[in-house]
């Protein structure tokens, strides 16, 4: 009997070895001028209007060409569009397309490729997650009750004039529309998409720099250079293979080992030393992601419309030693915040009036805090909520330590296990304290950082104004900027609004995450753009 048992174990083990042996390591097949890049498994099918996270975003951005594209600095460049012209108050646009653009299935890119795609995404029946990006186009509201819809109804504000021209009527002035259309959700779709969206999502037919060769789920997404690409971006390699990783840590180890060419994020465990790491090429420049925390505008003692609340917000902001947090906790991979936008956005300024409120000043902080206490005593604790499944924990520990040392024991952390739970608490407005907010811009414009986050219209669950901040003065400045087609005047109006925001601090800016990434030794041309994304098409290796 004992022999049987041992034999059984031996069989089990050798079976295991055989099973293990039969897998072949065909991973490192990045030959020629095909570069391999880090990615996580896309959380949706590869449909532009349904993708709102980086796993799918990285891929779609290379697959599709929109009306405009953004260059490395964040300026928009005409791509499929020949021109986008507006009327005097930016409430109507005429879009003319260039000739010769084709999808990879050979069909031409026409005005309908855009209007039908946008209507499809906007139409609630189709349950596309980027639907609300089209809310400024006329006819959007009529497409929001799925019960009466079939899914093919069109936005009434989009009118096709001919194959290469269409007009867009806005619900309200929207001067940023010509920039917005560079966001991936505004991509054109071929006719074949509507026949079988599901199949399309597995293998999209596109019109951009690359075409999808194959998508092996949980393993890799292989893109090949699109020979028919007509745009102005230079594609210097023959393809990009996205390898799907379980965590950035494992990907970083692969870059060190030379098994992966590029990754656009540096794991927390490597942040402090990747620039000294001789086994990788490091990249680190100021970036566009703005890290803040928000205190609900109506939180008792912290209101944005009372003197006490504003004093407390300013005191709190001045009690945070941002420079030390960036230097020590982030290992220098960040830039201390001086406004509500970010350094790579046209119109950014680091010397706005009231920006002193974002500077570490313990004495002033104590003074303002005492003033606020004189109005009404605060004897509770301000909690800082964040999701613990990211890298936020050390930063918020440091904030709380910094605040407690300056203002006395008034702060504590409130980590929530998952992003899901955290966002839910934020959108339900159930957090009675500060919470982490961060903003990765969708398109390079001040509007995206300001209107979307601090306008009254964006509050109360309708937008991303999670603190429900509301100030008629700010709203007015925003409205004027939206109707203003002169970009310099537009910037001035947004900056004026920022001065008010810097005084009332609906959210407290902390730092701008740097665009940081690593490439394997031997990789050439590794740079990152305004969106903290590598310019994949310009990367080569020998």
């Amino acid at each position: 009997m004992k022999k049987k048992a041992i034999a059984l174990a031996a069989i089990a083990c050798s079976l295991g070895m055989m099973l293990s042996g039969c897998g072949g390591g065909s991973d490192s097949a990045s030959s020629g001028n095909v570069i391999t890049a880090y990615n996580s498994e896309p959380q949706n099918a590869l449909i532009p209007g349904d993708t709102n996270e980086s796993g799918g975003g990285r891929v779609l951005q290379l697959l599709f060409a929109n009306l405009v594209r953004f260059d490395a600095k964040g300026d928009s460049v005409m791509e499929v569009a020949d021109s986008i012209t507006s009327n005097s108050d930016a409430s109507q646009y005429t879009v003319k397309l260039k000739d010769g653009w084709k999808f990879t299935d050979g069909t031409p890119v026409t005005a309908e490729s855009f209007t039908k795609a946008w209507s499809y995404t906007a139409n609630a029946k189709n349950a596309q997650k980027c639907s609300s990006f089209f809310s400024m186009i006329k006819g959007y509201d009529e497409l929001q009750d799925p019960k009466g819809l079939k899914g093919d109804e069109q936005l009434s504000g989009l009118k096709v004039e001919n194959d290469k021209t269409f007009t867009v009527d806005m619900v309200r002035p929207d001067s940023v529309f010509p920039v917005k259309v560079g966001y991936p959700a505004f991509a054109p779709l071929p006719d074949s998409f509507y026949k079988d969206p599901k199949a399309f999502g597995e293998k999209p037919v596109s019109n951009g720099m690359y075409t999808l060769d194959k998508w092996d789920h949980q393993s890799q997404i292989v893109l090949k250079k699109n020979a028919d690409y007509k745009g102005s971006a230079k594609v210097l390699n023959d393809g990009v293979t996205f390898k799907i990783y379980t965590s950035p840590d494992s990907a970083y180890a692969d870059v060190q080992g030379g098994n992966l060419d590029v990754m656009d994020t540096v794991p927390a465990s490597a942040k402090r030393q990747f620039q000294k790491d001789k086994s990788v090429i490091a990249y680190n420049k100021p970036g566009s992601v703005s890290q803040t925390f928000t205190i609900p505008s109506d939180l008792k003692h912290w209101e944005t419309n009372t003197e006490e609340g504003v004093l407390r917000r300013q005191a709190l902001s001045m009690a945070i030693d941002r420079q030390s947090i960036v230097d020590k906790i982030l290992g220098g991979i960040g830039t201390v915040a001086t406004d509500f936008t970010s350094p790579v956005i046209p119109g950014y300024s680091k010397d706005l009036q009231n920006s002193d409120n974002l500077k570490y000043n313990p004495d002033k902080a104590k003074e303002l805090w005492a003033k606020a206490d004189a109005i009404s005593k605060f004897d509770g604790k301000l909690t800082f909520a964040y999701n613990a499944d990211g890298d936020a924990q050390p930063v918020f520990d440091a904030i709380v330590n910094s605040v407690n040392r300056v203002l006395g024991n008034i702060a504590s952390t409130n980590p929530m296990p998952t992003f899901q739970e955290f966002r839910n608490a934020v959108t339900d407005r159930s957090i009675k304290g500060a919470f982490r907010t961060g903003w990765q811009p969708d398109y390079p414009s001040m509007e995206n950082y300001l209107y979307q986050l601090y306008d009254t219209e964006s509050g109360n669950g309708k937008g991303s104004n999670d603190g429900d901040y509301s100030n008629p003065q700010v709203d007015d400045l925003f409205n004027r900027a939206m109707a203003c087609t002169n970009s310099e005047e537009q910037i001035k109006l947004y900056q004026d609004a920022e001065v008010i925001l810097l005084d009332q601090l609906p959210a407290i800016p902390l730092y701008y995450s740097n665009a940081d990434g690593v490439a394997a030794l031997g990789v050439k041309g590794f740079t990152m753009d305004w969106q903290n994304t590598p310019i994949y098409n310009e990367i080569t290796k020998n």
């Binding site: 927390a268 465990s269 490597a270 402090r272 030393q273 030693d321 030390s324 947090i325 230097d327 020590k328 906790i329 999701n387 613990a388 499944d389 890298d391 924990q393 050390p394 520990d397 440091a398 330590n401 910094s402 040392r405 504590s412 952390t413 980590p415 296990p417 998952t418 739970e421």
Partner: protein, 322 residues
Amino acid sequence: MSAVDRLQPIETLPGQERYVAPLDETPLREVDSIDESAPATSMWADAWRTLRKNPLFIVSAILIVFIVFVALFPSVFTKENPNYCSLENSLAGSSANHPFGFDLQGCDVYARVVYGTRTSISVGILTTIIVVFVGALIGAIAGFCGGWVDGVLSRLVDIFMAIPMLLGAIVVLQMFRSSSSIWKVVLVLALFGWVSVARIARGAVLSSKNLEFNTASTALGSTPMRNLFRHIIPNSLAPVIVIATTSLGSYIVAEATLSFLGIGLPTTTVSWGGDISKAQSILRTDPMVLFYPSVALAITVLAFIMLGDAVKDALDPKSRTE
């Protein structure tokens, strides 16, 4: 140990005086000296006598007493506040008043190791007590009763084994969101820990149920319950004790893993596990920050493993024949 204590009243059951089973396992010299009126010759007293002479036990007992002392009176060992952290000191090396240096947040590592003792030891001991009590009881009942009772209990164990700890932990911790005590972590660890002890206990009971002394005692008219507590449980305790004392350390480590997954103790609670998980992100550059709490943890684990070995040797009637 509590499981052991609870069994004491059995000693006073009627019929005990006529109990003869240990005679053939005990050297004659000792048999000769038996005083039938004194209950001190019970298995537990014997165990204690053996234990006292075991150097393994003495060393581990001293260590554990010391660790418990640190846990009870941390301020005797350091004047520093483990929660006073300043980024100026971030990752500063050791100095006269700060023998272990500072962590990323600029907190004194030595103070944190000292103050973390209480949390970590409490998590370890409380979880072990609950796990052993519940696990051993259910396992023993399943193994002893057999039949449908075994079926039901064993399948319950199967179900619990398959549920991912992460899932259960998130849900349980959510239910006790407002509480910052260590009990919720203990509860989670116990909820998922008892099953492995139950399986082990069931296996051990199954194998000792059929041993000769048991059959003999049944033949002498002993009731099944008496058999269970007097013979089967003592004979099955060894593997359970080994698993329990070895697990104690792993529960402290599990607390670190929970922290690593973002669902552990509140970050304001100082614990070895929490500190180990925080130090993981700076492991490449500053391994010493992770080293100190790990060493404290390793010493604790060692102490309890040694204690477990000693107690097991003393209790195990088989190895007492030496």
